[in-house]
Amino acid sequence: MSLHLSGRECVDAVDGTLRGARRTHLDACAACRREVEALKGTADAASATGEVPDPSPLFWEHFSRRVREATDAEPIAAPSRWVLTWRPMLIGAAAASAVAVAVVLGLQHRAAPAGTRAPAGAAPAVAGEMDVDDASMNVIAQMAAGMSDDELQQAAHPGADTRVGVLEDLTPAQQAELIRLIQAQMASPE
């Protein structure tokens, strides 16, 4: 007899998503079935009583007016300084870095002697497997992993207003500050 289902597996069973050996265990174990059925019964009982009475039809307009009045005196907060100043630059930096990495890898690939190439069938090298010692390159790679689809698109096809060569324009001190800001931003919750 295998171990009884864990709490998480019981939840999967309630959801009907438990599969494989654990599902087989559930089918064979009366104690686990009782537990799952009791949980499901409780969830159903809660679900059956959760109806929210509809407020008056006039309520929604009144509510929107209340929110408008409560926010009328509030200024619209500007996006953080980080978003305004560094994020567009980082998009350019990511694009520039991607191009640079591709060029370096291409050159290495061409320069490598035939005997040092990976054997047939070996997995091709991907960016995530690169042995990069430079901390700033790690930061750029992590940043790119956290970028949205739109931003990656923009990085891959930078528009006329995107400054790809932005890193070259920065002094060493500015580059260090950029790295520090990226690390701080990635460490902070949304």
Partner: protein, 194 residues
């Protein structure tokens, strides 16, 4: 004068009414207040319903929902778009409701805001029993620890997936499932003893 203002607002909102939430947020951050009116219009029912389930009465739910949108107004510039706007608003709602719950005991629903009896029901007694049962369940949920309570609300009533709940609560999917398991176990005990 008020009509003119209303007309201008309606005309401006028409331009935005077809755009998605992400574009609305962008318009708002660029200074268009009418974009926020549309955000409220789109999400007010979900936010209100969640607040109602936390407090169980219309007046407090309306106050809490208003508070949610005021906080959203102040914080929307920090919204990064990693999750959907709806998920982000759920997160603000849960925080507002749990903060409120920490300060105040849940209020009993006044009898006139309870669902009205449907004369077509087979037995009038059923409606009464159903209403009493709902109140017992609501009180039991209100006694759960905050994260378990939020998990039950989002999973059972808002029908969010475990992944979505993990984004709302800022925890892992595994932690959401564990919370849900413990919440249902606690609910079962509370309901069994009531």
């Amino acid at each position: 004068m008020a009509d003119e203002d209303g007309g201008r607002r309606a005309a401006a909102s028409r331009d935005l009414s077809a755009v998605d939430d992400r574009a609305l947020v962008r318009a708002f951050v660029e200074g268009r207040r009418d974009a926020f009116d549309l955000i409220v219009e789109r999400h007010r029912r979900n936010v209100y319903n969640l607040c109602f389930r936390f407090v169980g009465n219309h007046e407090d739910a309306a106050d809490l929902a208003q508070d949610v949108f005021v906080r959203a107004f102040k914080g929307l510039a920090r919204f990064k778009g990693d999750a959907s706007l709806g998920t982000w608003l759920y997160r603000v709602s849960v925080n507002v409701c749990l903060n409120r719950a920490a300060m105040k005991r849940p209020v009993q629903a006044p009898i006139d805001t309870a669902p009205q009896h449907d004369p077509r029901a087979e037995d009038p007694l059923d409606a009464v029993v159903q209403r009493e049962r709902a109140e017992v369940v609501r009180r039991a949920i209100a006694r759960l620890p905050p994260k378990q309570r939020a998990t039950v609300m989002l999973r059972v009533y808002e029908d969010l997936s475990h992944e979505e709940i993990s984004r709302v609560l800022g925890t892992s999917v595994g932690a959401v499932k564990a919370n849900f398991f413990h919440a249902l176990g606690n609910l079962r005990r509370l309901l069994g003893s009531s």
